[in-house]
Amino acid sequence: MELQSLIYLFVGLSFALYIGIAIWAKAGSTKEFYIAGGGVHPVLNGMATGADWMSAASFISLAGIVSLKGSDGGAYLMGWTGGYVLLAMLLAPYLRKFGKFTVPDFIGDRYYSDFARAVAVICVVFISFTYVAGQMRGVGIVFSRFLQVDVNMGVYIGMFIVFIYAVLGGMKGITYTQVAQYCVMIFAFTVPAIFLSLQVTDTFLPQIGLGGKIPFAFDDGVKMIDSGTYLLHALDTSMTDLGFAAYTVSHGGTWNVFMLTTALMLGTAGLPHVIVRFFTTPTVKGARISAGWALVFIAILYTQIPAVAAFARLNLIKNLQNVDYAKFVKNEVKNSDGSINRGSWFKTWEDSGLIGWNDRNGDGKIQIAAGKAFEGKKGKPHFDGKRGASGERLTSNPANGVSKSSEQMRADGKIENEVYLDRDIIVLANPEIAGLPNWVIAIIAAGGLAAALSTAAGLLLAISTAISHDLLGQVLMKDPATGRSKLSERAELMAARLAAIVAIIVAGYLGINPPGFVAQVVAFAFGLAAASFFPAIILGIFYKRMNKEGAIAGMLAGLVFTFGYIVYFVFMGGDKADYLWGIAPTGIGTIGMILHFVVAIIVSSITPPPPKHIQELVERIRVPRGAGSASTH
């Protein structure tokens, strides 16, 4: 079948499945809407958490980042998995025992303060919106590439699908849809990874293949790499030949890798849409096991990512170095073993603007190496609509030709780069680069959408719950006499659905008009989660003496510092030289977290201890006995 019809088929089938599940699991009560009735099996809950957690960024961009950064990409791999150890041991069981619906519930009750609750609500809404904007954009990009529609149209389609199952089903609908989405996503990632692993290392499991040997010889442009060389060794050698840093050696500096890993770990443990997952299990024990299963399901994907990243990096050098562009894009170039080195993907992605080729030495052949292929900001090509001698797209970037032939460069051991590659296309283009069958490429489209939609739905739910339950129910419409919401169950469910609709519209708007810094806002979400929720919850459980004054002062200190640092250095053009102890904004959440702890403990030690009933509350959440079902409204 044609690639396009296969894509329609797979994407259509997966969407029909999600909507079917949403209708089957329609929420009838606020408890079902917020925490799926509190009765989700730990394994299923773990699977749903995995889908919720792994976003379009994990599925599409992470392999690209690791491929680009090599060894230092480990910060992302360890950061985004290690946080679950902290979640399982320091947060999940106690929050489950606490037994309400949301993170602001905990903050508000434990610190006996509606002001603390309101601060928590604002954090949830802000963290979740920054995250969801990126997801909606991801949905739009995948749709535009694979369904051949406009990016904006893609965002509208995504909004419609999320609308149906988030608004109708609430947490119950989302949880069961996410289980299905996890299955689609993991299948979509694993199948091409296995194909690649067989092709590049003759090994079935990508995790093992990463340490395997290449069954072919190839020319990296400077010298031949023998067949039977270890993959990672071949990568180190060819990358060094081409002027890159060696793949398996760390270059980022221990200090910054350390800080980034910590911020990602603590941010993971503090993200409200992840934490709320552990309110949905039936028991405290279930909450612990569920965190374990979530990490199992995440690890299945995350241990394949470094393998895919390395395969992709090698394939790029092997397939692109010194091939004739005009023949390559017409699929006329042959590999050394006589098979066809298909290059039509190069033209497809060049047409979409994510690849550029600048024939600097005019030999009609592609040269790939370290350095900028195009002059100008970040080396990005600015296409001017004209075509060059080989049929490539020309740009308005300043000329930067070189006079050396590829033979001369080989002799000198220094290749001049001619290729611009957007790192986000690594996973999407990988199967095409490797010449995998069409149905594999179609599955990737369905997987990318599953990843983006499942995360978007979880985030939208976190936002709508924060508004209807925490802000309306517990702050604005609270009956001072009973301490409960004045809204009826029906009215609150209606408010939750309305809030979800508004959240979807705002998210769609942000997806269509991205603030222009979608990649950087991720640092925002993680930094703020690490500096706000993580310490506040830990202190609430492990430090009985922590009182409301300390908690509020700590949260505000952590937030204001982290917020200010990121805004100053990312959005207001702060100079790198002024970094505090050389820490990049992506890792500053770690310092915000430490600041939070210090301020909270100092302030609480000079103010009165919390009232007796709060100390008893802390005693109670520390022991599992008597968890029962999640408390009713």
Binding site: G74, A88, G211, S250, K285, R288, I289, R622, A627
Partner: protein, 84 residues
């Protein structure tokens, strides 16, 4: 359940968590970041050890840690009779 049992339980819980977090720190920060260059001198198959810890090994250890923790806590809870 009396207060003493609850306190003893809590203490043992904290000790367990700290022990496991030491392992968590050693495999990720220790092997994958701080001593990565030293460990890279050791190779097995096609892997350098530090690189393997940073991109594969630490993730496997994380998974095992959570399940070990859940199992240990179950035992401790029965010992102090505070289980659900």
């Amino acid at each position: 359940m009396d207060d003493n049992a609850a306190q003893a339980y809590w203490k043992e819980n904290i000790t367990t968590i700290l022990k496991l977090l030491v392992i968590w720190f050693v495999v990720s920060y220790g092997c994958g970041i701080i001593f990565i260059d030293e460990l890279n001198a050791i190779t097995f198959g096609g892997f350098k050890l530090g690189f393997w810890f940073a991109q594969q090994g630490s993730i496997y250890v994380f998974v095992i840690l959570i399940f070990v923790y859940a199992k240990m806590m179950e035992r401790i809870e029965e010992k102090y009779d505070v289980h659900e």
